[in-house]
């Protein structure tokens, strides 16, 4: 869109929106323009909801999942006495915990807040690793499931944690890799297929 048609406030809003996943510069501009059509009280409500994000939502003291701070320092998972505290599933971000939670997983989580990548300036100090080490060192923890991503940085992060947390009596596991259930085998990418063959199960 040409600059003349874009007041400063609109441009700044589009700039903020464009940082959202899935929104490019174009679609952020469209979204900002759409907000222009909202009624003043609707916009005010949106603004209040955005403001309350930083006030009411924070990270769980234990696992760093986002949680409603008005209801306490622990997230619903950590606060739930029926969850299995002997099992900690380590994920890079909340979005990666969502499919695991949907699968019916009943253990706890630990959100790292990223993965190791020295080239991007992410070292152990930038991730929630010391708290993970402390949690895994507690007697009630029996297994740490490393559900970091499958790329090279995710693998390095898993390897670093494995060394960091290793102790007798603690199992370190990794999510199995292979072919998605229901996938068309003829369209499976070669890397997934190679992994599925390397880690095949006895029939």
């Amino acid at each position: 869109m040409s600059r003349e048609l874009q007041p400063e406030a609109l441009r700044r809003l589009a700039e903020s929106l464009s940082r959202l996943p899935g929104l490019g510069r174009r679609s952020a501009e469209r979204a900002a323009l759409a907000l222009l059509d909202w009624k003043p009280d609707e916009l005010k409500q949106l603004a209040e909801r955005l403001a309350s994000l930083s006030e009411d939502v924070g990270n769980c003291r234990l696992c760093f999942l986002p949680t409603d701070l008005r209801k306490g320092e622990l997230c619903p998972v950590c606060a739930d006495p029926r969850r299995d505290r002997s099992l900690i599933c380590v994920v890079e971000s909340v979005s990666m915990a969502v499919p695991i939670e949907k699968s019916g997983y009943r253990g706890c989580y630990h959100v790292l807040g990223g993965k190791l990548s020295p080239l991007d300036g992410v070292g152990p100090g930038q991730l929630h690793l010391e708290s993970l080490r402390q949690r895994s060192a507690e007697a009630e923890c029996r297994e740490v499931l490393l559900a970091t991503s499958t790329d090279i940085e995710g693998q390095a992060t898993a390897a670093y944690i494995a060394e960091l947390c290793a102790r007798p009596g603690l199992t370190l596991s990794r999510l199995a890799q292979g072919i998605p259930i229901g996938a068309d085998l003829s369209h499976t990418d070669s890397a997934s297929m190679a992994m599925a063959i390397a880690r095949r199960n006895q029939f």
Partner: protein, 358 residues
């Protein structure tokens, strides 16, 4: 093999379609008319890179936002790449997410005058040659090379930051695992490469020229023991690597040496010998790709014959007939190809004229 090629907004081509057949096709035209760009288009469709430039922006037609290349394969499947600010890949009617899954279809090998770098240039040129060939022979090798390269850059960054060993170790483990796969792949195809190189060289060089090809691994290891040897080498080299800020040991320092009478051709050979050796190396690579498991090869020959005398030129051109599909760009089709029944396509200012039944 390609049976059809469609081009849009690539180099000097606005829109062009071409039906293709097996065997030798000659793109004939004056310089600057687009014949080399046709070879480049096929190469890009196969490997998503150019053999002429590393700058993708140069490939688009002037003032166009993107270019499109589409090919039909001999089994009827279509593959297509649209390259603009982003790249879109399609194969067999489906979007392809990973380039490593896309580059399995064509298997192009390009011979161009710049290939002299292969023989005359630094070791990195010959390593890149090994890596591209390894990637074309096996998708697993391509994956290992990518992992290796990424882990290497991450470890080098940590070395520059003087990070503690505990931070280096995870990357070293990944380097060793992917590096071992790279070393094993190279060791597995090298004997065939050497044999094909010596065979091609025997046809191109004067009889009795004492040539050889040698793979010199930077880290020596017993077969099967590559991963462990790499781990040890990386650990041992840590203090020196920290000083240099880079990783000294590993397959990224392997050498593919072309030897003339036991000495390095790149430093002791003449320019003419280097050109011939580069051609022999490319032909050897193409030879390895003639296999049921690998695609292609499609041989793309960009006027390298200027370097050969008439006798060796004919030997070289005759040799091309053993490949399933060959495209040659030249200003004037050599008689031996014309007489041999090669198809001729005239290229003029980004337009194609087919001389059917010529």
């Amino acid at each position: 093999m390609l049976t059809r090629l469609e081009i849009r907004d690539f180099r000097c081509f606005g829109e062009a379609q071409l039906e293709l057949s097996p065997g030798i096709t000659v793109f004939e035209g004056a310089n600057g008319q687009g014949k080399t760009s046709l070879l480049e288009a096929v190469f890009f469709l196969g490997l998503l890179r150019s053999f002429r430039t590393g700058d993708l922006r140069l490939l688009k037609r002037w003032k166009c936002p993107s270019f499109l290349l589409r090919g039909r394969l001999d089994d009827g499947q279509e593959i297509a790449v649209e390259q603009g600010a982003e790249r879109r890949l399609r194969a067999a009617g489906q979007a392809v997410g990973r380039s490593s899954d896309f580059v399995r279809y064509l298997g192009p090998v390009a011979l161009s005058p710049e290939d002299i770098r292969l023989a005359k240039g630094p070791a990195a040129e010959r390593r890149q040659f090994l890596d591209i060939l390894g990637s074309q022979l096996s998708a697993a090798t391509l994956g290992a090379l990518r992992d290796y390269d990424k882990a290497l850059r991450q470890r080098n960054q940590l070395l520059r930051l003087q990070a503690p060993d505990a931070q280096l170790r995870p990357w070293e483990g990944l380097l060793a695992r992917s590096g071992a796969a790279v070393m094993q792949a190279r060791a597995a195809f090298f004997p065939d490469l050497r044999a094909a190189f010596l065979d091609a060289a025997a046809a191109l060089f004067p009889a009795g020229t004492p040539l050889d090809l040698k793979l010199v691994p930077a880290v020596s290891a017993a077969p099967g023991g590559e991963e462990e040897s790499l781990i040890l080498a990386l650990e041992e080299a840590r203090p020196r690597d920290r000083e240099l800020g880079s990783t000294a040991a590993g397959p990224h320092r392997d050498e593919l040496a072309i030897l003339l009478q036991g000495r390095s051709l790149s430093s002791h050979g003449s320019e003419g010998q280097c050109r011939l050796a580069a051609i022999a190396l490319r032909l050897a690579a193409a030879e390895l790709l003639i296999s049921p498991e690998a695609p292609g090869p499609i041989l793309l020959v960009d006027d390298v014959t200027g370097e050969l005398d008439s006798q060796r030129r004919d030997v070289f051109l005759q040799r091309l007939s053993r490949f399933p599909q060959v495209f040659i760009a030249c200003t004037e089709c050599p008689a031996i190809l014309r007489d041999g029944g090669a198809r001729i396509v005239q290229v003029e200012g980004g337009r194609l004229v087919q001389n059917a039944g010529d």
